[in-house]
Symmetry: C2
Subunit: 558 residues, 2 copies
Amino acid sequence: MANKKQQRPKLQIIPLGGVDEIGKNMTAFVYGDDMILVDCGSMFPQEEMLGIDLVIPDITFLVKNRDKLRAILITHGHEDHIGAMPYVLRELPVPVYGTQLSLGLIENKLKEHRINNAKLNTIAAGDKISIGCFTIEFIKVCHSIAGAVALAIHTPVGTVVHTGDFKIDYTPIDGVPTDLAKFALLGKQGVLCLLGESTNVERPGSTISERKIGETFETFFRSAKGRIIVATFASNIHRIQQIIDAAKNHRRKICLSGRSMINVANMATSLGEMHIPDGMLIELDDVKRYRDDQLVIITTGSQGEAMSALVRMAMSEHRQLDIHPGDTVIISATPIPGNEKFVSRVINQLYRKGARVIYDALAEVHTSGHARQEELKLIHSLVKPKFFVPIHGEYRHLVQHAELAKSLGMRDKNVFIPECGGVLEFSRNSAQRAGEVVAGQVLVDGLGIGDVGNVVLRDRKHLSEDGLMVAVLALSKETGELISEPEIISRGFVYVKESEDLIAGARAAIESAIASTTRNTPRKEWGNVKNVVRNRLREYLYEKTKRNPMILPIVVEL
Amino acid sequence: MANKKQQRPKLQIIPLGGVDEIGKNMTAFVYGDDMILVDCGSMFPQEEMLGIDLVIPDITFLVKNRDKLRAILITHGHEDHIGAMPYVLRELPVPVYGTQLSLGLIENKLKEHRINNAKLNTIAAGDKISIGCFTIEFIKVCHSIAGAVALAIHTPVGTVVHTGDFKIDYTPIDGVPTDLAKFALLGKQGVLCLLGESTNVERPGSTISERKIGETFETFFRSAKGRIIVATFASNIHRIQQIIDAAKNHRRKICLSGRSMINVANMATSLGEMHIPDGMLIELDDVKRYRDDQLVIITTGSQGEAMSALVRMAMSEHRQLDIHPGDTVIISATPIPGNEKFVSRVINQLYRKGARVIYDALAEVHTSGHARQEELKLIHSLVKPKFFVPIHGEYRHLVQHAELAKSLGMRDKNVFIPECGGVLEFSRNSAQRAGEVVAGQVLVDGLGIGDVGNVVLRDRKHLSEDGLMVAVLALSKETGELISEPEIISRGFVYVKESEDLIAGARAAIESAIASTTRNTPRKEWGNVKNVVRNRLREYLYEKTKRNPMILPIVVEL
């Protein structure tokens, strides 16, 4: 060992997000002085992150190694793959490579953040590019968004295949299935490591084809007597194309509702990724000129989001559209974990308005974009990697994907369950864990990036549960006595006006605290007054209400 | 019409909860001067009810008619059927009728609330009792708790069948299936109205038998090498019995963890509803005396509740038990809507600890207690009611249950989708809507019942999202100028220490507000100062942070 020749560098693969979580996907590949980044995603805040808008990866490691970072490669345009772009590009304005639809979505996003100088490079599936010591091939995969690719990253120590998010669809809407031949070819040539997405690893069998959803649309379009309103994800171009096709078959006009729906459709049609026959698209304001059975409305709101177009329609808060009996509403999506109740609420509201509502519990109106067990097995069997690293999943998904790989004959020691920030180091023949880099999550709240931490969140949680009570104590500098009655303000706790006894008791508690700390006490010994007031008030309020509001004593000395 | 004989009173059925929602089930039956109440449930607070502990029905109507209320009948002991008992009995101490297990659970609950004078009357399935003008028969039904009954309420205008919550299980654990013969007999004799539960109406087919879950246990118990830990609902006596039986088959000791698990098991064994062979039950403290493969631990925490025993084990916060590799953890439950993320979290954590985890996505470890479509159709077909009222469901469930009834031949005008507080009035041959009574929800927060309303909740929401800023302004009574620098306190907004520029800017905003309102202005014209300060601060903070903390200006005049 000690006598070795000069060591060649090793390939480092470092997940900076998307492992042990579903969201904010980001993986760095480092070899010598070259680094490339795959994906740059964001994540929805978790319930306990009160008031937070967005979670993005901690990019301390990238910033520290900014001289090495050559490019960002994007597998597809979903938020969990591109959502952190504005934040990362502002800090690290490196070239970005993606398919035209991914870049179109990124461009929209950068525009909102007023970033105009991004170096966006369009690639297509089948392309091969060189960046530093890496050669990257883009491989067509099917997913719930058009323009998705997997990556073959050829490195000096071997080829790494990164699946991105994918499913295997033999009858996709664009006619181009996942490029199984390419995966097979790579497997034949030898693959050092497979990074495989794990989202649907718990599900047996295979996902149903996107085309099947078109058949469901056809069925319901045939029987609908009035308007048809379909809610889906704006980014699911192929789903929307199928709605357009069904509308055409039934001689209905289509109308788009929801800002993101209109933006994405404009972009996708101008790129030729979506096709709306001439004269078929009408404006929202023109809806009233048509009979109900001449209309299909394609809208946002499939997740029951509070301000979305569908929810506003259901709540009679939409300027042009209201739900009425005779309407058929199709919710062509499944709730993202955490959104179940919002979706449930909009469904109930649509029923109340007299609509017929079709959703995932009742019909095949949605299919996942993520490979199930049999599809994963196929990819493993084609790629035949030496090493396997499951990615894009919560911990249990990663473990189960590792088990799936082992069930196909892979050896235990060749499978690595990755950690966020954990370095995996590869030579031609070996792989090992090699320390870790700074990684984690950064919370975005308004304009603040990372300025909301645990203390602020803990306070928000406290305030959210029991509200607060502010007590203003005007103390005489000389005697330490209260000059006037303490002013008490409460918010989110009780109605002060309806709680006169409680407030009177709180005043008495304050007065007793003052008597034991400041009254007739030298001013330099008043240090503890706030704590004593806080504790007395807390005990009193808890005894009376079994609640623990945040207590803020404010001392004004006169 | 005008010439009619003296009118006989009509039967009124008034849902006070459990319709248009899943939870807080409660239905009043009124005839002349007699009223009985079926069930008395609570509900979990919804996400936007920040800090609320529990939601119970508004019982204004019952209190107003307290002279009529003869009894409360309990169909079974789940929280959504008994959770409001302490609150209602304190107000209306009427006799309660239920099976021994339901009353056992109610007694536990009343003890916690220090109510000792409740008039609890044990009935058994098959019993018939008279209360006022009503005769009530209790009908055995299967459900996910033992001791569940449906009711046949014989009234002067006809018989009403109330299903309670039920499923049809031909192989239940206690050997006594849902009493289909009784439903058939009632149907033959003539039923005026069926009130049928709707929870699982979206699901086709039939629920699987509880006994099937025992087979799953058997499979995993056979292959488990180390400890077996099973999490389930404490109230699911039959599930727990099956775990005990499987443990016995495999010569394992059992140990109970979690306060409610221990309480319910004690109560159920003393009532003879649960059977633990002598010597099989060991104490938590004795676990260490046994080998891992001699142990089964039955625990709470199947919903991922933060303080539950399973979560504490997974987080290494349990005093006696820690999860380690070799453990098999079976989560024998499905997440209640809203709990998905908590369950998901505990599963991930158990995997991290090296446990094998079995949950609903991977095996048949749970079955619902609520009838699916084919079971509902069977009951409808047996009972053959004149009128039908779907209950226990969100709006969409009620609509779908109504559709199911119609698909079986019931006429549109004989089906009533009920509303909370909406009166349904029945004669021998007719039914109609007849106005409404006060009904709704009452929020329980600590000791406060109904004292937290919309304003308090709105403030909690505001505080939870952006925190607050308190600004204390000491103003000279004479000049209206600030005597000292404004004191600024913020919580849940930003770290004041790391935001010096922001706070300095906030002070400047306050000073400009003072300059335009109080400075050199007669004191009687200061009325607006707080609003001006609040608005200036709000604008300034939003511009700088895109956040909207709650702003509380406090003026002290010196």
